[in-house]
């Protein structure tokens, strides 16, 4: 009788394990595959990508883009999303991770290919600089302000809010070529 109860207990335990879908991993494996999990003590940042400004400047938008079918109706390419902040992460690192994880197209110029010594974002979601007038392009804000530095030079801290915005009224930045 006691033995039966023991076995039954065992069965229940196994069923619980199966139902919970427990993973079987070593500690290293667990660390690697769960690096981006948000826990209570995780440091995180928020990122969003938005191109709604083009709707206010629709006349200036390149016809090819209008008909491309890639434009989100409300201009939201990526809604405000929380990501784990890894040690030394720059704005570019988080953007690059966010677009990869969400399979959003992006094209950029590497830091060693230009004179700014920083990565330069040319296009996101098939929307490129100058597609909406000569002052259009991708800019980013951190906590509501436009930093003066390239996105791969800006190191983030816990709680930072990054907004990538497609603007049609550039002029903040150096635009030598």
């Amino acid at each position: 009788m006691k033995k039966d109860l023991l076995i039954l207990g065992f069965i229940v335990l196994i069923i619980v394990i199966i139902v919970n879908g427990t993973e079987f991993q070593t500690v290293d494996e667990y660390y690697l595959t769960h690096i981006d999990d948000i826990r209570e003590d995780s440091q995180t940042v928020f990122i969003s990508i938005n191109c709604s400004e083009i709707y206010a400047n629709w006349d200036m938008l390149d016809d090819n883009i209008k008909n491309s079918g890639y434009l989100p109706k409300d201009g939201v390419i990526l809604d405000k999303t929380e990501y784990v902040l890894r040690e030394g992460d720059t704005v570019f690192d988080v953007l690059n991770r966010a677009v990869r994880y969400n399979k959003i197209q992006m094209e950029y110029q590497g830091a060693d290919m230009n004179i700014y010594n920083s990565v330069y974002i040319q296009g996101i979601n098939y929307l490129y600089e100058f597609d909406c007038g000569e002052l259009s392009g991708w800019l980013y804000k951190v906590n509501g302000e436009f930093p003066k530095y390239g996105c791969s030079s800006y190191v983030l801290k816990d709680g930072d809010i990054i907004e990538w915005i497609y603007t049609c009224e550039l002029g903040q930045e150096y635009n030598l070529f």
Binding site: I18, I115, L135, V155, G171, F177
Partner: protein, 525 residues
């Protein structure tokens, strides 16, 4: 005797005091720089740049530099050096730039979808290296001047990126005094008109807004300079330039410098120097550009660091603790280099910085003599070729005149190109297979295994070009552990079933026993 002596001493003291005074006065006015000074400042910038990229050879254009040939990060240094007559390996640079442009021309966007300035920089670079921008490959297939300037409008507006496109289009057109054929999309007047029409009421020019910006104003002057006070043409731009010069004089700061977007910086000064040299203004002595006894040179030299390089600005950005205002910076160095070249040419009564009609090949070093190292490279086994060998092979091919060497180099170039394609495809496939990472399961195991095999077949050097290897490892672990989980689950389910069966049989047998003992209750006692 005593009186004579004392009056003599008095006079000596007086003279000494006077001369000290005179010296102090001339110091406070400003130091007069000579063409040698400009050349030396420029040479130190090149030394700094060499140190930055990690070469200790005689020339800046080395294998490492050639890997990025044709980008903004490299082209302007080459242009600056060429205009100072500094000897370097321009022919290698030209060979690689040509090859890069040739391969970009296979794309629909060619050099750029929207930025005509990509062509303009290419024109200046090719010409600085004594190439031919109108017939890049010598077979009539690529005309950068047509595609990037007067017929650019057939693809996209020359000014799609804004005023920069018009300004640099004109600078590149002036570069070799190119003629625009009849029936072209733009005439020279069209381009000049576009620039002139963008002058603001304060006399300046800007990317946007109603206030002039010193950098853009300076560049507009650089573009219009050949037509300023020029009796041979009648574009009537004299007053446009005069007003722009007045604007610059007005916004010059008390320390002799300029600010752009609220930041005092070295590049703005550099651009203004290039502009004023192009219209023959002596920036060291013209009173319009001396403020509080400070010239632009006083201001620009304050951005110079001990290593010979220059910095962008002293302003520290509180938002960005990583900003290093005291570290020499490549953009600042490059633009000061161009300003020094402009001043050097001004002092020596040479053509202005961007007027290349006087260019010759004197500064191009003869590297047709292959070194031992080069010959080793040429003979390397094709199995050891990596994607990095491309630019070196291209540059050596431009020098080798031995048939065997040429064949070997062509094979290296082909192989290296092939590897580049393999890397690109692999990067693409990794991207398509592993994202989103949280959806990775057993079904992707084989394709991930295949990606890994392809990754491992690359050389260590080429592996560095695989962008998301870390994620690939994560995906592999995920796929493996989910496979492992499936196996363990199956085993657990089997065990559960067996255990359940055991329990059931035991219960049954006990029931049997119980019913037997009910029948024979006395047995147990």
């Amino acid at each position: 005797m005593r009186r004579i002596l004392s009056s003599f001493i008095c006079i000596v003291i007086l003279i000494a005091a006077l001369s000290v005074n005179v010296q102090a006065e001339s110091d406070s006015i400003n130091k007069q720089y000579t063409s040698d000074d400009f050349y030396n400042i420029a040479a130190k910038i090149i030394d700094w740049k060499k140190q930055e990229i990690g070469t200790n050879g005689d020339y800046l254009i080395c294998d490492k530099y050639l890997e990025k040939a044709g980008t903004t990060a490299c082209d302007w240094y080459v242009i600056g050096m060429a205009r100072l007559g500094i000897k370097d390996d321009y022919s290698s640079y030209l060979a690689v730039v040509k090859e890069n442009i040739k391969s970009k021309y296979t794309l629909e966007s060619k050099l750029s979808k929207v930025k005509s300035t990509e062509w303009h920089r290419a024109i200046l670079t090719v010409n600085a290296c004594r190439g031919n921008a109108e017939d890049l490959l010598g077979d009539g297939t690529i005309n950068l001047v047509s595609d990037g300037i007067y017929n650019r409008g057939l693809t996209a507006s020359l000014g799609k990126q804004g005023i920069n496109g018009w300004i640099w289009g004109l600078i590149a057109l002036n570069n070799m005094n190119y003629d625009i054929p009849e029936n072209s999309y733009y005439t020279k007047e069209d381009i000049i008109k576009e620039i002139v029409s963008r002058q603001l009421s304060d006399g300046g020019f800007a990317l946007s807004g109603k206030t002039g910006d010193p950098d853009i104003t300076a560049m507009a002057i650089q573009a219009l300079a050949p037509y300023y006070k020029n009796k041979n043409c009648n574009y009537n731009i004299d007053s446009v330039v005069d007003n722009a010069v007045m604007f610059l004089s007005r916004v010059q700061l008390e320390n002799g410098g300029f600010q752009s977007f609220g930041t005092r910086n070295s590049e703005s000064i550099a651009q203004v120097i290039i502009a004023l040299c192009a219209i023959n203004i002596d920036i060291q002595n013209d009173r319009r550009f001396i403020k509080n006894n400070n010239t632009m040179l006083d201001a620009i030299m304050s951005f110079r660091m001990n290593d010979g390089g220059f910095i962008h600005s002293f302003d520290y950005d509180n938002n960005n603790p990583e900003s290093q205002p005291d570290k020499s910076n490549s953009m600042a160095g490059e633009q000061v280099l161009l300003a020094m070249a402009a001043l050097y040419r001004y002092e020596n009564n040479m053509n202005s910085l961007y007027d290349f009609t006087d260019i010759n090949s004197n500064n191009i070093i003869d590297k047709s003599e292959l070194t031992e190292n080069d010959i080793l490279f040429i003979h390397k086994s094709l199995d050891n070729v990596t994607s990095q060998d491309y630019s070196r092979a291209v540059s050596l091919l431009s020098k080798a005149n031995n048939k065997d060497y040429q064949n070997r180099l062509n094979n290296i170039i082909l192989k290296s190109d092939e590897i580049k394609n393999i890397i690109d495809t692999l990067n693409n496939d990794i991207y398509n297979v592993i994202y989103p990472l949280d959806k990775i399961g057993v079904s992707q195991r084989n394709s991930i295994e295949d990606l890994f095999k392809r990754y491992n077949s690359l050389s260590d050097i080429d592996k560095k070009y695989i962008l998301y290897y870390d994620d690939l490892v994560t995906a592999k672990i995920k796929a493996e552990s989910s496979q492992r989980s499936v196996i363990i689950m199956v085993i657990l389910i089997i065990i559960t079933i067996i255990l359940a069966l055991i329990v059931i049989t035991r219960i049954r047998s006990r029931k049997k026993k119980n019913s037997l003992s009910d029948l024979y209750p006395n047995d147990e006692e």
